[in-house]
Symmetry: C2
Subunit: 299 residues, 2 copies
């Protein structure tokens, strides 16, 4: 299959759905329900060229287990909104203090810190509004999915990982801590994306289990590759400066294990993740290809 | 009825339920699921002597329409977590830059800005995790409630109002803008608290309508009283400095209409709100008393 074409097609669908949530109209204040600057700030970060990996993973998993139609889209969009909010808050001066993101000035650089914080808050909250809006008769499953996404995004997931990441800066940390950071900061939401697709698509317990192990491996591999790219990626492809992890003395796989060993582990995780999907039919091909793409990517 | 005793009793129930969500154990890092500092920061703000007005309103409305048992508690707690997150983010240097809250140092003053931002994010996300955790067979209603709470907290509600508030600082603003700020920044979540109780308690459409108009009036009155207290309240009772609105040239009722007219309008809103509940029986007495308390309060 042509994974590039697949990713482009799915990205278009996700982008169109996100546009539907935040249409590009000239929102000018109170009458529209919220102030224009907030709206522009959310759009700035939401439409800044993200690869839409999380929503596409959720769609691919949904379709792999036989899910049909558009009912995955509110969750696909919700996952991307949560991911985007986390990037906006991460980039803030008080946290990672990054000026650029995907080749554009970070949200707070354009709109100021206050609007940056509130645009993040707004996107996070909007995700939960969107995911609980339509029920399609699957209320029990939807509550279960929203609960899992909240857990993966919060203190036992992404937020917890982010705090551990910040607190490990400049310290000698052990391997379990780096793994904690990776599996929580990045892995949890990627895993939740895969599981959301399986649950909403009607996959059985056995399938959910296999896809879960796949999602865990891909989530960890994704963050290891991120760390490798921060060391030796091309800034013009990444759209942000490289070397920042080293500068901030971040706890990463390359800093603990070196580049070669990190690359080997990421490839191993990817391969073993793909193997777990072998018992399934050709419907899982896109998921496997996404896994390979995650390792190969240069940005 | 003895409203002071009622509020104390309900506060105890809410506090115990919140303790159940964030037990005061010595959480020390990765093994507990999230870093200790994050956990302490959330507890610092969550247990800093809040009056629990929103959760108590939801419980009072729930019981007023005949709701029984504990199933309101996850929503009561969720509403308080969302309120607390909003206070933590509001107090940040980039937003209102307040050093004190309820007589204690603000979250970011104790734990630093990064942890302050992430503690807010964690509380907001935890609220949605909690509210979707148990379904009690009322999945349809719960999805509807969570959706309304998300809407009330987000860009069309609290976050939108907060942005309008910030952007109005130091400017000449008109009365509709002040009303927009008040109804969104504070009113929306108070209204959602009342409506949550009615919906979960099984109130019919007619009841929901009456309680909604009550909630709108009380929400607006609450913020007007807040503004009045900022001008002439006692700092030692409020636990924060007064006069900050004037200093920051905030758009408030007192700044536009003066203290006396603001006080008159708050009382009028309270009285007309209470009148709307007159057709109901003695079960609505607590709600009426809470409304009177909202006006009378000195902190």
């Amino acid at each position: 299959m042509d994974i590039k074409k697949y990713l482009e097609e799915k990205k278009k669908i996700v982008d169109a759905a996100l546009e539907g949530c935040f249409p590009n109209t000239d929102a000018t204040g109170c009458e529209t329900g919220y102030p224009s600057s907030l709206y522009q700030a959310m759009r700035h970060s939401l439409f800044s060229g993200g690869k839409r990996i999380r929503p596409i993973l959720s769609i691919a998993a949904f379709e792999a287990v036989g899910g049909k139609g558009d009912k995955i889209l509110p969750f696909a969009c919700g996952l991307e909104m949560i991911h985007t909010y986390s990037l906006i808050h991460d980039d803030l001066p008080a946290i990672d203090n990054d000026d650029y993101r995907r080749g554009k000035p970070a949200c707070h650089k354009v709109f100021g810190e206050a609007i940056g914080i509130l645009a993040g808050d707004g996107l996070l909250t909007k995700a939960f509004e969107l995911m609980t809006k339509h029920s399609f008769g699957d209320q029990e499953i939807i509550l279960n999915i929203v609960n899992e996404i909240a857990r993966a995004s919060g203190i036992s997931g992404m937020v917890g990982g982010q705090v551990a990441d910040i607190e490990s800066e400049g310290k000698e940390v052990d391997f379990p801590t780096v793994q904690y950071i990776h599996t929580h900061k990045t892995g949890a939401l990627i895993l939740a994306s895969v599981r959301t697709g399986v649950k909403l698509g009607g996959g059985d317990e056995e399938t959910l289990k296999a896809f879960t192990h796949f999602g865990e491996r891909i989530g960890l591999a994704f963050q290891i590759v991120d760390d490798i790219l921060n060391v030796e990626g091309k800034a013009e492809l990444l759209g942000k400066s490289t070397g920042s992890d080293l500068f901030k003395k971040k706890a990463t796989y390359p800093s603990l294990l070196g580049i070669e060993e990190s690359r080997r582990r990421a490839a191993e995780l990817m391969e073993s993740g793909i193997d777990l999907l072998n018992p399934f039919g050709p419907e899982v091909e896109p998921l496997k290809e996404i896994a390979r793409f995650v390792i190969r990517r240069e940005s």
